[in-house]
């Protein structure tokens, strides 16, 4: 039972870490709100789109951060395959969950923006299309996890899937871009006036903080679930007749 005592002893630093991550989350939220206020107040309404253009302030940073999430999945997966620590697998899964959320948000905002701008809900714009592919890869990764019962097998398989998915990201991005440029559809009006760059950057940082908070939160709760599982396992092992003799 000494391990239980050890866990109890680590509870205090865990609590202080909890506070630290909460600070990160709150900071992200505050910055997010401030960035919108700043954006609305300072940057002039767009010539064509008016204030609708402000959607871009969240849409674009969300896409950037989704890429970061995928990078985190890949790195954690790689480290899992290298070291074999189950915690790295849980980190990859947490990053994938948040990544799916961010890609989903990017797609939703893209649609909300596209309808009044182009009169269509969906456009095969390269960056948007790549994000959609990314979204499907996150979803497939998470569905795979629910289909595998054994923890070690799940970790190993999803690490491999995450890694191959990450390899595919640049190839998808390049191929989708070529595909669109060759067909010469309308290029996206993403060239930005300098007055737009500051709110964009502030939003990127805000979303990054929020992402870090969310990943850390999911990761810690997954670790706690795992610890609880381990303790229950220990009980299950001790609680059988003849167990003490082994």
């Amino acid at each position: 039972m000494e391990s239980v005592v050890n866990r109890a002893a680590t509870a205090a630093p865990m609590a202080s870490r909890e506070v630290r991550w909460t600070t990160v989350g709150v900071a992200g939220l505050v910055l997010l709100v401030a960035a919108q206020v700043y954006g609305v107040l300072t940057s002039p309404p767009d010539r064509d789109m008016g204030h609708l253009q402000k959607i871009m302030y969240v849409h674009v940073p969300a896409a950037w951060n989704a890429m970061l999430a995928f990078l985190l999945v890949a790195l954690a997966s790689l480290r899992y395959l290298w070291k074999g620590r189950l915690a790295d697998d849980l980190l990859a899964a947490s990053a994938a969950e948040v990544g799916m959320l961010l890609t989903g948000l990017t797609l939703a905002l893209g649609m909300i923006w596209g309808k009044p701008t182009w009169g269509i809900w969906w456009t095969w714009e390269p960056r948007l299309t790549s994000t959609a592919v990314l979204f499907f890869m996150f979803v497939a990764y998470l569905i795979l996890r629910t289909f595998v019962d054994d923890a070690e097998r799940r970790a190993q398989w999803s690490a491999v899937v995450g890694l191959l998915g990450a390899l595919n990201v640049p190839i998808v991005y390049m191929s989708v871009r070529w595909w669109r440029t060759l067909h010469q559809m309308q290029s996206s009006p993403m060239t930005l006036d300098s007055s737009y760059t500051w709110p964009l950057r502030a939003n990127a940082v805000a979303l990054m903080l929020l992402m870090a908070y969310a990943v850390a939160h999911r990761y810690r709760s997954a670790l706690m679930t795992q610890t609880a599982d381990e303790l229950m396992d220990r009980l299950a092992l001790k609680g059988t007749p003849g167990g003490s003799r082994a």
Binding site: D149, D150, E152, D233, A236, L237, T240, P241, G242, G243, R245, A246
Partner: protein, 243 residues
Amino acid sequence: MPATAIPLNPDPGTLALLADGVTRRYGRRWALRGANLAVRPGEVVGLEGHNGSGKSTLLRVFSTLIRATSGRASVLGHDVRERPDWVRGQVALMTYHPGLYDDLTARENLQFAASMLGRDASGIDAALDRVGLLRDGDERVRTFSSGMQRRLSLARLLMQRPRVLLLDEPYNSLDRQGVALVNEVVAEVVRGSEGGAALIVLHDRQSAGSLLDRVEVMFQGRVEGQAEPELPSASEMLAELAS
């Protein structure tokens, strides 16, 4: 009841098989809960126990097919997790499934095994003859009875030239001659190779005859004790354990 036959500080180098606190779980269920077992070179050890007591899982851990959740297992002094490929060259596992390809003939099945093992194909006829399937060698396995399939997997096992045998209920669906054949093969491997040994999961120890040096009994994922082959039957021991 005598304790499990593990010396206080077992030197894995001198043992054919060693399991030291091996656990394995499948999802929420523990198949092994700290199994200890030692098999010395030259020994033939029987393994008895209820269904689900962890016998097959233990065999699979030794064969490198399944990883232990915790604990240590070694074959001929080498850890199964550190040197799996070496261990695979030394052990042969015979499971409940014959593990054959139904649409290939008996001979093709052995040819495939020979290619995978890097063995000469010239031994195939001898192996088929040994298990009494020479005349059926060009028939598809799909048409074989379960006893014939078992004989064929025994022929494949012969081609592996293993030093340590892990047999999971090898006598199932075999006739009297088949049972004798299994025992012959076991004796041959154990006596004929350096460090040879066999671990046999069985329900009916009559089949193994005088081959067994001892019988270990598993209960709820642990090796709970041993019985001399002549001593009370496993079912009696299990009844005692369960009470």
